[in-house]
Structures are given as C-alpha cells and as structure tokens.
Symmetry: C2
Subunit: 343 residues, 2 copies
C-alpha cells in the first residue's frame, strides 16, 4: 500500500495525496475529504524511509548518555524526550558508557543514522583535555551538538548548563560561615564539570582565608550504585585519622553513603556532621534525615536545551551557551546560617 494505490483509489494524482498528507492549504476541501476517506479506509501509513529520503530528515534526534539507568541522567533523558516529542521529534537513545572509545562509537552511530541533532546528556562528555573532545567538534561540523551540563567552545556546539563552580563554592562557603572548617569534599568523577565543582570548593576556602588540606578532597573510585562502598570508604578515612565535620558530595549517592557512615559511627547529623549532596534527587528523600542538596534545575535546563535545539534546527540564531544558577535546598542534614547570596 503506497501513495500510488491511494491516488488511484481516490482518482487523483500522487501529488494531491502528498499534499493532503502534508496538510497543504492548496487542496479543495472536497478532494481532501475524498483522499482522507481512502487513507482511513485502507489504514495507509506513509513510508517514513521514503519520506526521509525525500526530505533528508526523519525528524529524529540522537540522545547520548553514559548510563540511562543513572537516576539523574534518566531524568534528563525523560525531560528531553518529552520536550522534543512535543515539537514532533523522535529520539534515538544510545547509552554509551563512560569510556572514550565507546562514546566515540556511539556518536558516529548516531551520525550515520542521520539524526538532525545530537544531544549529549551529562557532564562526562567533555573531558578536561581538549584533545579528548575532538570527536565532538568533528561531529559538530556535520550536525549541531547540544551539551547538557558541559561546556565546549566550538562552532555548532551549544551548551546548557548550571554554574557548578558557583553552586559548590556557595555551598562550601555556607558551611564555612556556619563554623564548620573541615569540609570533606567527596567526588567520583573527574569530568570537566566534576573539576569545576572541585574548584568551587577550593575557591570557597581561598575566599575564606582558611587553609585547605589535600586530604580533605577525596576521590571515590567506585560504582555509582555502591552506597555501602562509599560508607566503608569514609569509615576507612576516619580510621586513618582524618577529621571532618561536613561532607560536601559531588553526587547525592555519595551523600547517602555519608549518612550511613554517620549512623554506623553514631555521629549526630547535623550536629556533629553536616552533609550536602548534589542534584537533589529522589535519593535525598529516601534518607533520614532528608539530605540538603544542590538542585541544579534539571527540568529547566532540559527544556532550555530543547528550546535551543529546536531554534537551531529552525535556522534561528541561538546563544551558544546558556548558564543557570543552581540552588541549595536546605533539608535535614545541615543547619546553616541564613543563606548568603554570593556573587
């Protein structure tokens, strides 16, 4: 069943059928009705591949993320897909994993599918080393690339992100202001944005004039689901004599691990230990007490990213970088003085 069959049945040319199908205004209402009836009657669905060939697009957009089962990334994918679909786009999803080789492969796969755009979800797609981002720049020369939570200065690459530096600095400063001077910074990613967060933390110490020991910056090298691993990691640090009265975590799951650590060691929260997470995800609500966390406005970011994307695809002039501010959401694991808006 193709457009010729329909045209024959309806007694019109294929051009007219095509026009009806595409809602062209230049069709006599009676003709439109006649054609529509035949289409309905036969349950005809136009061939999307032929359409793609003719128009050089199937209105599909590639979404890459390292691991869509990650709570945060999954939410991002959800928001992005939902927004794109409203504008008539379909999403091809690829979970690339965290290894460079696989990211590269995933990207080229999307390009060979001739997607209209590529959206890279997650800060892990941009590495601190420029040469590691070549593959993105090269892709961008063919197809516009949109980065969520990452920054890359390159033509045809559009970034939508939160100011992680400022957010982390602000959170650390709030802790320092409240009198906690030994904040353990716990992180699990050395991505561009991971390093920005770390810098924010360091900057808060700088600004306060307090000394910062390297021991207070700890990298947890484990799975993103291994909460008890985080807990043990902290227990080990404590046994090694490290003293800290706050944990500032680069991800909520690390903060959850810190809560467990505190409970095991009978450390009172927030009196003896403050904990701040990052992302303000569902995990913060599972814990008891609920975890103070930095909310980086994922939903806002995603809808802005999609807006930028649609704009670019419509040929509009769009800003290459949009930056939002994150917000510290106060819950039960901190007792901070009035939040100071630091510029």
């Amino acid at each position: 069943m193709n457009i010729y069959d329909i045209s024959k049945q309806a007694g019109v040319s294929i051009a007219t059928v095509s026009r009806v199908l595409n809602g062209s205004p230049n069709v006599k209402p009676a003709t439109r009705r006649k054609v529509m009836d035949i289409i309905e009657q036969y349950g005809y669905i136009p061939n999307a591949f032929a359409r793609g060939l003719g128009l050089d697009t199937m209105n599909s957009i590639g979404i890459m993320c390292a691991d869509s089962s990650d709570l945060y990334l999954a939410k991002a994918v959800y928001y992005i897909e939902t927004n794109l679909r409203k504008s008539g786009y379909n999403c091809i999803l690829i979970c690339s994993g965290y290894e460079h080789r696989n990211k590269e492969e995933a990207l080229s796969r999307l390009l060979s599918q001739r997607v209209d755009a590529v959206i890279m979800v997650g800060s892990n797609y941009v590495e601190p080393e420029i040469k590691d981002n070549r593959y993105i720049m090269s892709a961008a020369s063919q197809t516009p690339v949109f980065l969520l939570n990452a920054e890359l200065d390159c033509p045809n690459v559009f970034c939508t992100m939160c100011d992680d530096f400022k957010a982390t600095r602000s959170a650390a400063a709030a802790l320092l202001n409240s009198g906690v001077t030994d904040i353990l910074y716990l992180y699990n990613s050395r991505s561009y944005s991971g390093m920005r967060k770390l810098s924010g933390y360091q900057s808060a110490y700088h600004m306060s004039g307090l000394p910062l020991s390297n021991d207070l910056m700890q990298f947890f090298d484990g799975s993103r689901e291994d909460i008890s691993g985080v807990c043990h990691f902290l227990c080990d640090l404590r046994e090694q004599g490290l003293v800290f009265h706050a944990v500032l975590a680069a991800e909520d799951m690390l903060a959850v691990g810190a809560i467990k650590y505190a409970r095991i060691n009978r450390i009172a929260i927030p009196d003896e230990l403050s904990v701040i997470g990052y992302n303000n995800s569902l995990l913060t609500a599972c814990s008891d007490p609920e975890i103070t966390s930095i909310d980086n406005k994922l939903e806002t970011l995603c809808s802005q990213l999609v807006r930028t994307c649609i704009g670019v695809l419509n040929g509009e002039d769009m800003p290459p970088k949009v930056i939002y501010s994150a917000e510290l959401v106060h819950k039960g694991t901190t007792r901070l003085r009035e939040q100071r808006q630091d510029q």
Copy 2:
C-alpha cells in the same frame, strides 16, 4: 557525496561499492581496498534513509515506557538498549506516560516510524480489561510486540515476565509463617501485574487459612516520587486505628515510605514492623536499615526479552511467553524464618 561519487572516484560501478559497504564476499580484495580507500578519503557515510527505503528497515526498534525517569523503568530501558545495540539495532525511545490515550499515540508514532519491533517496558501497558489492550493487538498485526513484565495472549505478542503472583504470595507467606498475621499490602498501580501481585498476597492468606480484612489492602494514589506522601498516608491509617505489623509493598518507594513512617512513630524495624519492598532497587540501599525486597531479575528479563526479539526478527520460532521466578532478598527490614520454597 553519494555512492555514485565514490564509484566514479574508485573506477568501479555502484554495485561494487554497495558490495564493499555491505561486506559481500564476492569482491576482489584489491578492489575492496581501492574502494575503501576512497571511502575513507572522502569520509563518505552511506545515506541511511535510502538504505532504509531499499531494505525496508533501518534496524531500529521502538521502546515505549511510561516514564523513563522511574528508577526501575530506566534500568530496564538501559539493559534493553545495551543488549539491542550489541546486535546492531538502534532504539527509538518514547515515554508515553500512564494515560491510555498517550500510550496509544506513542505506539502509533513508533509504527509510523517503521520500527522493526516494539518493546513495551513495564507492567502498566497491559490493563486488566481486554478492550483496553486492543491497540496492542492491532499493532501486533503489523509489527512484533514484546512486553516486559506483562502478559497478553495474542499472536505476534511476546511476553517476558516474572511470576509476580508467586513472588508476592511467597513473601506474604514468609511473613505469615514468621508469625506476623496483619500484613498491610500497599500498592500504587492497578495494572495487570499490579493486580497479580495483589492476588498473590490474597492467596497467601487463603492458603494459611487466616482471615483477611479489606482494610489491609491499601491503594496509595500518589506520585511515584512522593515518599513523604506515602509516609503520611500510613500515619493516617494508623491514626484511624488500623493495626499492622508488616508492610508488603508493591514498589520499593512505598517501602521507603513505610520506613519513614516507622521512624516518625518510633516503631522498631523489624521487631515491631517488617517491611518488604519490590524490585530491589537502589532505594532499598539508601534506607537504613536496608530494605528486604523482591528482586524480579530485571537484567535477566531484559536480556531474555532482547534474545526473543532478535530471534523473532531473524525468523526463528520463539516462545510467546517466558516466565522467570523472582527472588526474595533478605535484608534488614525483616526477620523471617528459613525461606520456604513454595511451589
């Protein structure tokens, strides 16, 4: 840049270029090398739409799920995508939401994209009423449909599922055996599988000969992220005088809510209240104590589903229904007697 350009540069016909591209064995090694060189040199990527038109497939498979930001569904999508990609398929993801109308729309959207198969992720796609499943059956007449965690007897529909009935019955029976006779069954979905779980619970009471009050089966009508809503819901029940010494939850988030409820009311877990979740997700590890939960082998289910799918697409004869058994994973919120394997 198309196949003609390449053929001209390489001094061969387009058929030969096509053969090289598709790894046909009937190409002289020297020719292959020559063509490959030109392809590399020009960075030629074959047009996927034209290929799709010629072959009537773009090797893409539609994945529908209600909400890919749901922890459990996100994991399923991840496993399925990863497995499909290994076999060379791309995934078009649509988050349909939970409403019938939108599910229907999502499905027809996938069909009009001419996917090779549709995978419906989540028990919510099959409703207890047969007429509500017409849209699936109708789709199946065009394209094979694969259901995860749902059951529908219809040609060209293939189900991969866990025996939720047995799993829930078994968990309830274990609680009853351990001496807890007032188990609150807490659920938040009336999907087919949701009702199967409920039946399992009821069956355990039946088998034990104990009476079962309707008040012990409670439907929580709220968001899947509203943990404190669950907590309040339980507090209200308690205030209304409902007595229960165990909560058997149809989803982990409900169990987390139960933990919060217990903490607020200073109810000791597991001594005064046992809690069992469902899915054995990350949430069970966030809670303290960690939550005993029914693990329905999501990873196994997903890889089996994909195996079935690939088999069907390869024209092999595949079983229309594959059922696995779930497993109760004992953690800190129960103290059960030796687990009895009930058939």
